[in-house]
């Protein structure tokens, strides 16, 4: 693998790691299999691309993506906690609606951003050379997101959210509404996924309505790889693991491509990877 290839994998891993952190919140902290992700990732890219086309500052478009994702999370939360639709279906409903919404936001299935000013070119224009400008910017953004998330998970509300996924009965007897906690968690989760979508869109230079297909599986793969390699001793370690997991995942994809695998086979490969990791504990138990 050439150096350029490694740098691209690293940067992709970092850009997608925020999505993986979002998946970590819904799947691991809330124990809520939220498929909204497949829609909120392109939503972020769509909002961001549309705003850049309209001449807004690309950094502002990140904030807008964050808010749009929060809205998507709110809808899924509302469907589940108020209308009592099962978690999986609530996510699928929002995801499906988002397909139409994303097309509306973009006005067409694909917006190319090549040649436009984006957050990376802005940092490059400060006089930082390749590849440091994009790497540095991504690292700073991820550090900020991770630190904020770690801090949040150690506040009183953060404790309550973690306990909600772990033992809802206990959190109710502590006088806390599990519905409110789920809602809040889904909002934060999808806001992060959308932010990640905006970063990825600007990084790869286009937003595409289909870029979310299989995003949830990629996110889950990152979370699981992180758990296997880094562990879950504390929240700070677990979120670090998710970021590392995302990077390792993108490297594995690059290597698979380098070995001559067709890009269209990657989704299958990822699904098999996730099945493998999810089933290892059981297989190990059975072999004992």
């Amino acid at each position: 693998m050439s150096l350029g290839f490694a740098i691209t994998s690293l940067e992709q891993g970092l850009a997608f790691s925020i999505m993986a952190l979002g998946v970590f919140i819904s799947f691991r902290i809330l124990d809520f299999a939220d498929l909204t992700v497949d829609g909120s990732l392109p939503l972020g890219a769509a909002v961001s691309a549309r705003m850049i086309m309209a001449g807004y500052d690309p950094f502002y478009s990140l904030a807008a993506a964050l808010l749009a994702g929060a809205g998507a999370g709110f809808i899924t939360g509302f469907l589940n906690t108020r209308l009592k639709i099962a978690p999986l279906l609530a996510g699928i409903l929002t995801m499906t609606s988002l397909y139409s919404i994303n097309l509306r936001v973009m006005g067409r299935p694909n917006i190319p951003l090549l040649g436009r000013e984006n957050i990376f070119t802005k940092v490059r224009d400060l006089g930082i050379s390749y590849p440091w400008y994009s790497l540095l910017l991504l690292l700073v953004i991820i550090m900020v997101v991770k630190l904020l998330l770690d801090a949040f998970l150690n506040t009183q509300i953060g404790f309550a959210m973690r306990a909600t996924g772990d033992n809802p009965q206990m959190i109710r007897s502590m006088g806390i509404s599990t519905n409110t906690m789920k809602m809040l968690g889904l909002i934060i989760s999808n806001a992060l996924v959308s932010l990640s979508g905006a970063l990825v869109g600007q990084y790869q230079g286009f937003a595409d309505v289909n870029m979310g297909v299989g995003a949830i599986i990629a996110g889950l793969a990152s979370v699981i790889i992180g758990e296997v390699i880094i562990g879950t001793k504390s929240m700070i370690i677990a979120t670090f693991g998710v970021i590392i997991g995302s990077i390792v995942y993108r490297f594995s994809i690059s290597i698979a491509l380098n070995l001559g695998l067709a890009a269209s086979d990657l989704k299958l490969l990822t699904a098999i990877l996730v099945i493998f990791f999810l089933s290892t504990p059981r297989i190990r138990k059975a072999l004992r």
Binding site: A163, I171, R172
Partner: protein
């Protein structure tokens, strides 16, 4: 303190399986009362406690706690002023979180949640003091995940969490039934200690007749969704297991059918 009037709860209403679990119960609980509740399976003991805790809506009647009507309040809203411990020792704690994180939620239970740190020096100090009292050495293991504790340790922690915020009412639903005998005795002693020290009004369901007689200042026997005996202070002091069984048979018109209760005599 707690006034229950004409409480009725019907499960599967309007179906062939309709079951009136609690029939028109009225109960006046005084501040500081420690009431033990006995009765065979299906007598409505747990339904009574769950109705008070707001787990499900009731069909008739009113529940007043501390002069506030809580009849229609849902579970988590009631929980602010009510502590609960369940039979399952795993039910009351969050296994993936540490002892201090679990306790933190319990200590700030009556306050509104905020973005303040969940843990602080002062909070840890309070935790250590409380944990020292229950004498299991947990004060030295604040950062241990709760899933690593034994059932007895977890139930002790749950009991502490249920009482640490000084609730108006403590509801115990056979909270020692799933523990081994030695641990059960420890938890019972701890219950008596915590309830007496903090003067918490308590309702405790038990299948153990001896405990029902020994613990608390008042004993209620339920059968078929109704309270068939309400035995208070002095009278309760003269009770024996044999007497209690006879009393049940008189009203029930048959032998006590609960094996567990007989075995635990």
């Amino acid at each position: 303190m707690l006034e229950i009037s004409n409480l009725t709860k019907i499960f599967y209403k309007g179906t062939p399986n309709e079951n009136t679990a609690v029939k028109n119960i009225s109960l006046d609980v005084k501040n500081g009362d420690f009431i033990t509740i006995v009765g065979s399976n299906g007598a409505g003991k747990s339904t009574l406690l769950n109705s008070i805790a707001g787990v499900f809506p009731v069909d008739k009647g009113r529940i007043i706690l501390d002069n506030k009507d809580i009849t229609k309040k849902c579970e988590y809203k009631c929980a602010k002023n009510i502590g609960r411990v369940f039979q399952n020792p795993l039910a009351g704690t969050s296994p993936e979180m540490t002892i201090e994180e679990n306790l933190s939620l319990a200590i700030s239970k009556t306050k509104n949640l905020s973005l303040r740190w969940g843990l602080s020096k002062s909070k840890r100090k309070i935790m250590r003091e409380h944990l020292e009292k229950i004498d299991l050495g947990l004060e030295k293991r604040l950062t241990t995940k709760v899933k690593l504790l034994s059932g007895g340790q977890r139930q002790a922690l749950t009991l502490l969490m249920a009482t640490v915020a000084n609730p108006d009412l403590l509801l115990l639903d056979e909270h020692t039934a799933a523990l081994d005998p030695a641990t059960a005795i420890k938890i019972k002693n701890l219950t008596a200690e915590l309830v007496n020290d903090n003067n918490i009004t308590t309702l405790m369901i038990t299948h153990n007749m001896e405990d029902a007689i020994k613990l608390g200042n008042r004993l209620i026997m339920m059968d078929g969704g109704e309270i068939i005996y309400d035995i208070k202070a002095e009278e309760k002091g003269k009770l024996t297991i044999e007497k209690l069984m006879k009393m049940f048979e008189v009203k029930h018109g048959g032998k006590f059918t609960n094996d567990r209760m007989l075995l635990s005599v």
